[in-house]
Structures are given as C-alpha cells and as structure tokens.
C-alpha cells in the first residue's frame, strides 16, 4: 500500500463512517470520491441526531418544560461550537440557515433592503468571479436586476486561477460588495483572499466569502480572513443536510435589515409594526433546523478532534499523489491547477472525447462514485470550452488506494469506449 508523508490514520478514521463499509453493485467495494457534493457522516454525528430525537426533542426558545430547555441548550450549544470552530469573535455572529445557498441569498437580500451606507442601487457595482458556484452567482444577478446595480466579475487564467491583473478596474470606488469563493468546487483552486480583501477594503466594499469547500478541509478563521460575511454548509463537513451557516460581523448584523419575517426573529409585534430580536435571531425566522444544528455541532467536534491542520495536510498529500497519477492517464486533461499548490482535494478532468456521463457510469459499475456534469459552475465549463467534467473529490477518509482504484477505473473506461 502506498504510504505518503502527512497522511492520517485512515484505517481508524474509516471505522467511524459505517457507509464506507457497504458494498455496491454485487459486492464491489465502495470508493466514494464525491465529497465535494456531500461528505459521509461519522457515527458520532448520527448518534447525536438520534440522541437528540430520542431524548430531547422539543421546539427551541419557548416553553418552560425540561425538553424545551434541553433542546434550546443543545441548539445554542451547537452555535457555540461552530463559533469556536471558525474563531468568531462572538457567538451572536453565527446565523443558522438551511445551506450555503440560503446564506448567500440572505446576505444579498440584507443588502437589497439596506439603507445607506450599505444600499446597493443603480449607481453601484457588485463584483463576483467566473469560478463561482451558481449559488454565488444567481443571488447577485437577482440583486443586480432588482436594484439596477452593475454586476462585474473576475475572469480566469488558463491554469484555473483568478485573473486579478485588472483588479483596480474590476473593484472600484463604485463597488459595494465583492463576493467570491475561497476554494472552487470545480477547479479546486484556493483563491488569494488577502489581495482581494485589501482592494475591497481600500474602496470600502463589503466582502462575502463562500467557504463551502473550505470549511470542511482547512482551518477556517473568519478573523484572519478579514471578510464581512462567510457562508458555508454543514453537509459537506460531516454534518447533516438542512443546516448552513452565515457568519457576519456584529455591527453589520445590527445595522442590516432582516429578510425573512416570522416567529423567533421578533421582539414585540403589534398589528401595525414589529421590533426585531438582536442577531442572530433577527435572521432566523421560524422554527430552525434544530436536530441538524445539533448534528453540525457534533460534526465540528469530530473534525476538531481529528484536527483541521492534520486534515488539510492529509488532503494535500493525497492531492499531490492524485494529480501525479491522473496525469499519467493518456488523454486526461485536468481542468484547474495541475499541481497541489494552492489547491484543494477536488480534481476535475476530461478524458479524451469520452463524455463525463459515460465516464461516471462506467466508474460506477466498478463501485467508484464521482460527480459528472457542470457542477453548478457552468460558466467555468464555458470558459474552458468543455461541456462538462468528471470530478473526483477527496476527504479525510480517502486513501491512496482509492486514487489507484480511480486511475485503474479510468483505464477501463478508455478501453471500453476506445
């Protein structure tokens, strides 16, 4: 078996993930390489969900009975855990949403209804990049259409990086908000946060970072990032689906208006008007995803116990190995950086003229799960003149043997369609 420096003890880690043991297609070993779509869940998270429902289920922030108090303590406890995980200065800066898309839509709508100095209107500009997931494109297109603000974006270089050569023309005095992805879900690229944040701060623009593909894989320190908002989702980081996070700087959360109205987010309500609860509750209308938040709390505990630095080191070693092995496959073209530097463990590629759907289907027959398509980042496919890619993405439980299985699988695909 291939040994690489920096790898985690995957034999031990994999014991925590029951699903990794299940056979697929008549007894084939599952090789799960679709972690950028969603991660698998460790037993610790599954147990937390079960225990919550079996022992403490109740609605939160209301009711005086013991279950309501336990549920509230667990829900708010999850907020503390997440705040610690991302080094938030205050737990009140952590807003629970249902996913990263909702988090990004929430920011766009806060700004859409904001007064000065945050107001986005026809005199102002919004900046994104060409490598965004659709969830960080469409909310800004909607905001642009509704307010008349101009939508601009950074293009990409041939090797899958942001082209920041025109940064002073893209981010200008008119720019109100710059929203970009920290780690691309299709290219794997890790973007240079500091350069973008510095320019945005120079012109007084707010910075929103989509950390959906970063939070699961590296140390995420919102203070070090110096952003104003950071969005990510729970299910890609060992948590359940249905829970996402928007972190925002406290003074912004105080100043900006709520978006969704309803229960939980108010202070007092009369038939004429209402006053709002302080953040984060101001932005959490209605019964929140309670069990899911508890599950996310268990997930960040789990990740912290393994160690985010160690997870990043493991994935870096694996990415280095995988890039090298994949480039040995004839006709394979990596879409994105072709080294492991400043890139995450998500590798997109094309294989000659063989359509990714066919690649994915034949890999699946061998038990290998990858994602095929445009990965909700169609502009990237257009930029590189390809209809779609095959994407393999790794996580803390992935092994060099799984990289080898992928490479063997791809040889089989080539023979099949050759």
């Amino acid at each position: 078996m291939t040994q690489l420096p920096g790898l985690l003890d995957t034999e031990a880690i994999r014991k925590d993930f029951p699903i990794l043991d299940r056979p697929v297609h008549d007894g084939k070993k599952l090789v799960y390489l679709d972690n950028a779509a969603t991660s698998q869940k460790p037993r610790q998270v599954l147990d937390a969900l079960n225990t919550y429902y079996e022992r403490s289920n109740a609605n939160v922030h209301r009711g005086v009975h013991v279950l309501a108090e336990e549920a509230t303590a667990l829900y708010e406890g999850a907020r503390d855990k997440v705040a610690g995980f991302i080094n938030a200065p205050s737990r009140d800066e952590v807003i629970f949403t249902k996913n990263a898309s909702e988090s990004l839509n929430l920011v766009a709508n806060m700004l859409g209804w904001a007064d000065e100095p945050y107001r986005v209107d026809r005199e102002t500009e919004i900046v994104i990049t060409e490598m965004e997931h659709h969830s960080n494109i469409v909310p800004w297109q909607l905001l642009s259409q509704r307010t008349g603000a101009k939508l601009k974006w950074f293009g990409l270089t041939d090797d899958g990086r942001l082209d920041l050569s025109q940064i002073e023309q893209v981010i200008t005095e008119k720019t109100k908000v710059v929203s970009f992805v920290l780690v691309s879900n299709i290219l794997g690229t890790v973007n240079p946060v500091e350069a973008i944040v510095r320019r945005a701060q120079d012109v007084g623009a707010l910075v929103v970072i989509d950390a959906s593909q970063a939070a699961p894989h590296m140390v995420l320190d919102v203070q070090a990032l110096q952003a104003d908002f950071v969005a990510f989702t729970g299910h890609k980081m060992c948590g359940p689906t249905g829970i996402g996070v928007l972190w925002g700087r406290q003074e912004l959360l105080e100043d900006l208006p709520p978006f969704l109205g309803g229960g939980e987010m108010i202070e007092t309500v009369s038939m004429h008007s209402s006053t709002y609860a302080p953040a984060p509750h101001k932005f959490e209308a209605g019964t929140p995803p309670i069990a899911q938040a508890v599950g996310l709390g268990a997930a960040v505990d789990y990740l912290a116990s393994v160690g985010m630095e160690d997870i990043a080191r493991h994935e870096h070693a694996l990415t280095h190995y995988a890039v090298g092995r994949l480039l040995e496959v004839p006709d394979l073209r990596i879409i994105g950086p072709t080294t492991a530097e400043e890139r995450g463990a998500t590798i997109s590629f094309t294989l000659g003229d063989i359509h990714p759907h066919d690649v994915g289907q034949v890999l699946d027959e061998q038990g290998i799960a990858v994602r095929v398509g445009h990965h909700c980042a169609r502009p990237v496919c257009l930029r590189y003149g390809i209809p779609a890619t095959t994407r393999a993405s790794f996580y803390l439980y992935s092994t060099p043997a799984e990289v080898d299985a992928l490479v063997e699988g791809l040889e089989h695909v080539r023979n099949f369609f050759g």
Partner: protein, 149 residues
C-alpha cells in the same frame, strides 16, 4: 446499459450533420449539458430528413443516430407511433421487457431498454426525440418559437 448496438451508433452515427430543414430547434439537458440542434425536413406527410449536430454522452448521441435511422422516410403518423413507443419504453423504469411487437416498431431502439433503469440517463436518451417532436410541430406550424429544456 451499454449494449453493443448503442456503442456502434455512438462510434458511427447515422445522418449526423446539419442539412436543410423546414424547422430547427435547439434542446439542452440542463442537468448534464447535453445539447442538440436538430432540423426536420418534411415532404407533405413524409419525413424527408432529420439532421442534427450536438454534443453529449454516448446515450444521447446514439439515440439521435437511432432516431435518424428509424424516422427518415417514414410517414408522420408512423413516426409518432414510434416516438410514443420509445417514450413508453424509456419511462418504464426498467420494468418493460420489449416483446416482439415492440421490437418490430423500435428496431435498434430496443437496445435502450436498459437505460430506463437509470433515471439520470433517461433524459439523455429522450433528448433528440423531444427535439424531433418539437421541430416537427414547428415545421407543421403548430407552435411558434423554439424551447430549451
């Protein structure tokens, strides 16, 4: 799923390339990016030509090739019956085992029976058939404008 018939049509497609037509449509499968541009040329009730250009997986490309082979030269009524039979087969979720009668109607297209077990791939197989239906309606003046989806 990958029957030899499908692979043969994929590697050696029939009637590929755009030629003159009475109507042209462009259909895409938004979940995977398969695309087809398809033209229909009618001579009264007879399908004189179905020409197409597109990109996509082996299933979508082979299906367009089979469509060309099956429908060109047919009367519209018969072509519709073939299209409906193919649609029925593709919507059968793998439950339909083509019998002799179906095989007589669909010829090579029965090879797609296995695809119907894979919900994600059914749309690939149907892409050209939906485009043909749309283009034919347009050629007959039944609808205006193309659609994508």
């Amino acid at each position: 799923m990958y029957q030899d018939v499908i692979l043969d049509h994929y590697k050696n497609p029939h009637g590929r390339g755009l030629r003159d037509g009475d109507a042209e449509v462009h259909h895409v499968n938004p979940t995977c990016g398969d695309e087809i541009t398809l033209r229909v040329r009618l001579d009264g009730e007879t399908i004189e030509d179905v020409s197409y250009e597109g990109q996509g997986c082996s299933i979508s490309q082979a299906s367009a090739s089979v469509l060309n082979e099956l429908l060109v030269g047919k009367e519209l009524g018969e072509a519709r019956r073939i299209q409906e039979t193919f649609l029925e087969l593709m919507q059968s979720k793998g439950q339909t085992v083509p019998d002799d009668a179906m095989e007589e109607v669909l010829e090579d297209a029965v090879a797609f029976a296995g695809v119907s077990k894979y919900p994600a791939r059914v749309k690939c197989a149907l892409l050209s058939w939906m485009a043909w239906k749309d283009a034919t309606a347009q050629a007959l003046g039944e609808t205006a404008g193309g659609k994508t989806a």
